[in-house]
Symmetry: D2
Subunit: 309 residues, 4 copies
C-alpha cells in the first residue's frame, strides 16, 4: 500500500455508503464502487464521512462496511475512516475497530458547540489521544460551526499523529495559503493538505499548495486528471477540463440534496446498483433527475466516461 | 404497573446515566437511583434523554442500561426511553429493543434541520411508524431549533399512538394553554402533557393544565409534592415549597454545566456513587461546587431531604 | 417606465453601494453604474439589499443613494428598494421615503427568529401593510434562517400587493416548480418570480418557470443574454454561454468574500471607481485578486465585455 | 457625577425605551423612569441596549432619547449608551453623538459572525478606535454567538479605554473568576465587571468578584440592596432578599417575552405610563399577566415596593 503519512497526495475519494432498496447495506455495490474508484486513479478512499451517512448506521453496520471496503481494496490504496462522534467512547470504538480492520487513518472534525480557540485545540488533542492513529483533521465549519484558523491548525500539527488536513472551509483558499506560509516560515511542520468543498475550487486549491483533494464528486477521474495537469504545469488545460465538469459539480454541492444527486450519477455510471438514501433523506424529483441527465449528456460530448453514464 | 396512556400524570423523572470513574456504566448506582426515584414518588422514569448522555453511549450500552432500569423498576412505574437519532434505522433499533425489554413508551424529538411545519409533521408521522409504540413527543426547540406550534401538535395528536407531550419550549406556557384550548374546542384529542425546562415553571405549568412534569431536578420529591399541593388546590403552599428550591433549580438549568451539577447533587444525596460525565463534558470547579453546597445547606434548613445531602 | 407588476420579467440587477476610499458614498460611480446596468439590458435594478451593504448605511445615506439611483435611471427602468429591518418603524421610513422618491417597489425578507409557518405569514402580512407599495418577497433562508414553503408563499400571494418573489432558497428549484404548479392549479395567482443565488442556476431557474433573475453578478449582460436564448428556445446555446461564466459566478458567490470580488470586477470593468467596502468587511488578498484576474482573462478569450475589464 | 472609570461599581440599570401606545417615544415616561431608577439607588443607567429596542429606533430617535435621559439625569449618575451596529459608520454616529450629548461611556458587543479569537479581538480593538470613549465590553454570547474567553478579555483590557465588562455569558461565573485571577496574577489590569443575565446570579456574581450588576430587572432596589448586604458581609441576608425576587426574575428572563413582562411591571409600578413594545414584538396574554400579578402580590407581602405595584 502507498504509505499514509504527511507526504500523502492525490485524490482521496469520499465514498457514499451504498444501500439496497430496503435500506440494508449493499455490499456488492460496495465492492464494485471500491474497484471503480481505484480504477479511476484514487490515491485513497475515505468512508463513513458526512457523505457516507455515517450517523445513520449502527456501529455494527459501520464496522461491517469498513471491513468490506478494506478487504476489497486489498492494500491497493489507504482507507481513511471518519470517526466524528458526540462522545469519545463511540469515537474510540469506531477508530480502534477500523484500525484493527486495517484502516490507514482516522478522520475527525471538532464537535459542534466548542467555544473559543483553546477549547477547539484541546478537543482535537484529546481526540488524537482517543484515536491514537494517523489522524486526518476535517475543517468543515459549514457543518460544525467551529472555526479553525491557520495558527490554530499550526498548533494542532505539532502532534506527529496529525498527518493530513481536509480543508473544507468556504471560502478557504486564503487559509490554505496562510498554512503553507506558516510551514515555510518554520512555524509548523508540513502536513498533507487535501481540498474539499465538493471540488468547486480544485484548480485554485492546488495552485495554493494543496496536495490533492478529498471529495465525493461522482467523476473522480476528472479530479485525478486535473491534479496531473496542474502538477505538469498545464494550468490552462487543467482549468479547461475542470470547467467542463463545473456545471455538474455545482449541482452536486447543493446542501441536503447533493448526496442524492451523487448516488444518482454513480448509479447511472453503473458504479452502484441503487441510489437509495437512508431515511430521513431527500428524494430526487423527476425535474432534478432530468436536469442531471441533461448535464451528463452535455458532458458526454467530450468526456467518454460520462457517455457511459 | 400504572398504565402508560393519555391519562398519565405526575412526575416522570429524567434519569442521568451513572458512570464509574473510568466511564463505564455504573449499574449498581443505576439500581440505587431507580429505587430512589420510585421512593421519591415518581410516576415514571425517562432514560436516555439528552440528560442521559444518550449520544455518548454505544447501542449495546444503551440497551444494557435500559434493561437494567426496567428490571429494577420491576413494573412499579412505566419507563420511557429516548430514541431520537439522526437516522430511522438507529431510532428503530433503540425503540424496538427497548420495547422488547419492557419499556412503556418511546420519546422522540424532531431531528434538527427540518424546514417548515409540514416537514416537521411528516417527520413525526414517520417516527411514529418507525417506533410503533406509545409515543412521547419531545418539544425542545432550544436544542433542535425546530418549532412546533399548538396547531401542529394538534395534527400530530390525531395519531392514537401519541400518548404524551413533553412540553419544553421556553417560553412555553402560552403554548400549553393553546393546546388545552384546542382540546376543549374538540380540535384535538386530549393527551397527557408534562412540563419541563428543568422545573423552572412547574407551578405555572400545572396551573395552565399540565398533567405533571418530566424533568431531572435532583430533588424529585419536591416536584411530586408541588403537584400534590396544586391538585389539592393549595396554590400558595405549592409556590412556597417551589420557591425554596428555585435557587438550586436556577443553578441546575445552566446550559452545558447543568448535568454536572445534577450528578454532583445526586452524589451528595447518596443516590449515585460518582458524578462522572463522559468526555467530552464539563467539570465542576471548586467554586461552583461550593455554591451548590451553600444552596444545599440553605435548603436543608427547611427540607430534611437536603439535610441528608 | 416599464410597469412594475406581476408581469415583470428579465434581469433585475442587484446593485452594490459604491463608496469612496474614505467610506463616503460615491455618487459619481453610482451614476456610472446605473447607466452601465441599463446599457447591459437590465429590466430593473434592486438597491439596498444585503449586497448593497444596507445595514451599514445611515438612514440619510440610504435615502440619498435611493434618490440618486432613481434620478439617474430617469424612468428607464423600475428601481426596487430593500427595506428589511429589525423594526417596522425603520422599514416604514425606508419604504415610504423610497416610494416618495419614485421607487417602483419595496423588497422585504422575513425577520430572523420567526417561529412556525403562521408567524412568518403574519409577519409578511404586517410588512405589506407597513410598506403599502408593490411588494417583493425575498426568500433567502441562508441569511434569515426562516423557511417559506410553496404553500406559504401561495397564501402570501393572495395579497394583491405581492408583485414578485425573489427566489433565493438553495436548493430551491423544486420549490420554484411547486409554486408554478400551485398557480397552474388555480391555488394562487401568478406572480413574477425572479431567481437568485448569484446566478448559479439561471438556466434551470428559467426552465422551471422563473421570469428572470435578480442578482448581482458582475456581468449582467450574460444574464440578459441567457434569458433571451432560453426564451428563444435555445437551451443549449444558453447553457454554453452560461458555462463560460460559471467559474467566475462560483468565485463570486463565496459567503462573506463575494461582495468584495464583485466590487473588484466592477472596478476592473470601469463601472465603479473604487472597490471599497465599509468596515467591518473583508479585503481581497493578492492571491484572490490574481485568481479573479485569471478567470477574467479566460473569459475575455470569448467575451469581449470581459476583455474590457 | 460619580466618575465612570475602572473603579465603577454598583447597579447600572438597563433601561427600556418607553413608547406611547402609537409607538412614538414617550418622553414623559422617560423622565419619570430616569428619576425612579436614580431614586432606587442606581449607580448608573445603560440605554439603547438590546432591552432598549435599539434596533427598532431610527438614528434620530436614538439620539433624542439619549439626550432626554442625560438631561434628566443631570449629572447625578453616568449614562452608558449601547452602540452595537452592523457597520462602524453607524456605531460611530451613535457613539459620537451620545458622547457629545454627555454620555459617560459606550457599550458594544462583538458583531455576530466573527470567526476565531483573533477576529474578535481585532474587531473590539477597531470598535474602541471608532468609539474612542470610555468603553463597556458586552459579553453576551447567547445573542451574538461570539465567544470571549478570559484570556481574550485580558488582551482587550490592555487598551486603557476599556473601562468595564458587562459579563453576561451563561453560565459565566467561572469566567468571572478566571478574569479576576488573571488580574491578581498581574496578567491584565483590573477593570470594572458588572454581572448580568437578568440578575439570576447576582449573589454568586458578587461573591466571584463582580463590582455590581448591569441589568434591567424591574425592581432595581433589590439589586442595590443585595449589593449592599454582600459588601457588608451579610451573605445569608443578601441571599434571603434575592430569593424573594427570584420567581419574578425567572419570569422576566424568558427570551423574547421578558421585555414585555418588564415593561408591564414597570407600568404596574407607575414608572412608565404604557407597556408598549414596538412591532414586531410579543404581547402578554391575560394568563401571563395574571401570573405576574400573582408573583407581585406574593412579593408585596414582604416588599413594600411591590405592594405599590
Amino acid at each position: 500500500m502507498s504509505m499514509f503519512d504527511r507526504s500523502a497526495k492525490g485524490v482521496f475519494v469520499i465514498a457514499p455508503t451504498p444501500f439496497l432498496p430496503d435500506g440494508a447495506l449493499d455490499l456488492a455495490s460496495t465492492d464494485r464502487m471500491t474497484d471503480a474508484f481505484i480504477a479511476a486513479g484514487a490515491a485513497g478512499m475515505t468512508i463513513l464521512g458526512v457523505m457516507g451517512e455515517a450517523p445513520k448506521l449502527t456501529e455494527a453496520e459501520s464496522l461491517a462496511f469498513v471491513d468490506r471496503v478494506i478487504k476489497r481494496s486489498a492494500g491497493r490504496i489507504p482507507v481513511v475512516v471518519g470517526a466524528s462522534a458526540p462522545g469519545f467512547a463511540q469515537m474510540k470504538a469506531i477508530a480502534r475497530g477500523s484500525m484493527d480492520l486495517g484502516a490507514a487513518g482516522i478522520m475527525v472534525s471538532p464537535t459542534p458547540g466548542l467555544k473559543g480557540d483553546e477549547a477547539v485545540i484541546s478537543y482535537i488533542a484529546q481526540a488524537m489521544d482517543v484515536v491514537d492513529a494517523p489522524f486526518v483533521l476535517q475543517d468543515y465549519p459549514q457543518l460544525t460551526n467551529v472555526t479553525m484558523t491557520a495558527p490554530m491548525i499550526a498548533r494542532m500539527a505539532q502532534d506527529q499523529r496529525m498527518v493530513m488536513l481536509k480543508a473544507e472551509d468556504w471560502p478557504g483558499l486564503d487559509k490554505l495559503t496562510a498554512i503553507r506560509r506558516l510551514e515555510a516560515e518554520g512555524k509548523m511542520p508540513r502536513v498533507s493538505i487535501l481540498g474539499g468543498v465538493g471540488g468547486q475550487f480544485l484548480p485554485e486549491e492546488l495552485a495554493r499548495g494543496a496536495d490533492g483533494i478529498m471529495t465525493g464528486y461522482a467523476f473522480p477521474e476528472m479530479l485525478v486528471n486535473v491534479c496531473k495537469l496542474m502538477w505538469a504545469g498545464q494550468r490552462d488545460a487543467a482549468q479547461d477540463l475542470f470547467d467542463l465538469h463545473l456545471p455538474l459539480i455545482r449541482t452536486e454541492v447543493q446542501p441536503g440534496l447533493g448526496l442524492a444527486i451523487r448516488k444518482y450519477v454513480l448509479k447511472r455510471r453503473g458504479i452502484i446498483a441503487h441510489d437509495t438514501l437512508r431515511a430521513p433523506g431527500p428524494k430526487l424529483t423527476p425535474e432534478t433527475a432530468a436536469e442531471v441527465d441533461y448535464l451528463l449528456a452535455r458532458l458526454a460530448r467530450t468526456q467518454p466516461l460520462a457517455a457511459a453514464a
